[in-house]
């Protein structure tokens, strides 16, 4: 007979009120093993627990009116809940990923990537500095007018000292910048006029009325 079956029979006899020595005598070939099994059963039944009145009071207090929870118990409960919820969120997230339908397994990551790409693009374009066209060397061909883009000196603004002399000198320096700018503009106009005259002369020299 298999040992499992012997245990089954032995417990059946025990339920029927047979004593352990009687049962052991019924299975002499498994006496040692059965003794050990009965020892395990005896130890398992040793747990002595009495109803805890404190827990009952807590339950009664919680029924109907939500009070009567000790501070210690509340802290313990909150800690446990926080701990469990903290562990849960990531696990649940991963689990929900595994439980997704096939189409969502594609749609969700692709959608996420698109949203991310749009966000990155939007962020980058808003950060891009406005480019100020600096002086560019434009190739000048014959007859073409090279216009130089006016460059304003980027002087550091004077520090406000509150001194009247400093204020006057700042005003004068601003005026001199303006004057020099006007002079430059006039000179440019004169140059343009010169070039225009030259071009007109060239044209008149080349034009022969009799040809037509």
């Amino acid at each position: 007979m298999k040992f499992e079956k012997v245990i089954e029979k032995a417990i059946e006899l025990l339920d029927k009120g047979k004593s352990i020595p009687e049962i052991l005598n019924s299975f002499p070939e498994f006496e040692k093993e059965l003794k050990e099994i009965f020892e395990i059963i005896e130890i398992l039944g040793k747990e002595k627990i009495t109803p805890n009145r404190e827990i009952l009071e807590r339950i009664i207090n919680q029924i109907g009116i939500e009070k009567g929870v000790t501070k210690e118990e509340l802290t313990r409960y909150l800690e446990r809940e926080t701990k469990l919820k903290g562990r849960l969120s990531l696990i649940e997230l991963i689990k929900s990923g595994f439980n997704m339908a096939e189409k969502w397994k594609i749609i969700v990551p692709v959608g996420t990537l698109i949203v991310l790409a749009v966000l990155i693009f939007a962020t980058q374009s808003s950060k891009k500095p406005t480019e100020i066209a600096g002086p560019t060397a434009t190739p000048v061909s014959t007859g073409e007018i090279a216009r130089e883009t006016p460059v304003f000196s980027q002087e550091t603004p004077p520090v406000a000292t509150g001194n009247i002399d400093d204020v006057v000198s700042v005003v004068l320096s601003d005026a001199s910048v303006e004057v020099s700018q006007i002079e430059r503009d006039i000179q440019e106009d004169v140059n343009i006029l010169g070039i225009d005259n030259q071009a007109l002369n060239d044209f008149l020299g080349a034009y022969n009325e009799n040809e037509f």
Binding site: I7, E33, E39, L44, K46, L56, Q62, Y77, R80
Partner: protein, 186 residues
């Protein structure tokens, strides 16, 4: 609840509790605290957690007391069903706890190991070893030998046939014995 002769009638106690009789609920508590506590304690092995979960069991029973249908005059199976569901829920939330820790035995010399390990320590080791069994075996062993339920009651509670319960318990005992042998405790 005023009449003491009703005190042992669980069906009446449930009915009284349904009508808001807290004393009746207290009597139910005294009747079912030990089996519920034992059942949970053998699965959790932490007094604090067991107390918290036992409390939840009784609160849940009370909250749903109007839906409780007591068949054959015993609400025990209802209490166990609530306890089982709460336990499953608890473990689901706390999955990593299920990763069994290696059993660390006291540093005894092998020769006088059996003499030095007291029954209480052995009880603790057995309880840890129970958690290495299959879930079915664990339940049957706890309900049968810790909660002292009959095979018939266990079969009904777990929705199994009685012979299946008997088979599970003898297999569980055999496995426990082997595990104790491997640890040189038996």
């Amino acid at each position: 609840m005023k009449e003491n002769n009703f005190k042992k009638d669980p069906k009446l106690l449930i009915d009284l509790a349904k009508n808001g009789d807290k004393e009746a609920f207290g009597v139910l508590y005294e009747m079912y605290f030990v089996p519920v506590f034992r059942y949970l304690f053998a699965r959790l092995n932490s007094k604090t957690e067991t107390e918290d979960l036992t409390q939840e069991v009784f609160l849940k029973v009370y909250q749903n007391i109007n839906k409780v249908e007591i068949k054959d005059n015993s609400p025990l199976s209802y209490f166990f069903t609530v306890a089982r569901n709460l336990l499953i829920d608890y473990w689901r939330k706390k999955k990593e706890v299920l990763i069994e820790k290696e059993i660390v035995l006291p540093n005894y010399k092998e020769s006088d190991l059996i003499e030095q390990i007291e029954k209480k320590e052995m009880g603790e080791i057995i309880k840890k070893l129970i958690r290495e069994l299959t879930l079915d075996q664990q339940e049957v062993i706890i309900l049968r030998f810790i909660n002292e339920m009959s095979n018939k009651e266990i079969a009904k509670l777990l929705g199994k046939r009685e012979d299946a319960v008997r088979q599970l318990q003898s297999r569980a005992l055999k496995n426990l014995r082997e595990k104790l042998k491997n640890l040189k405790i038996l």
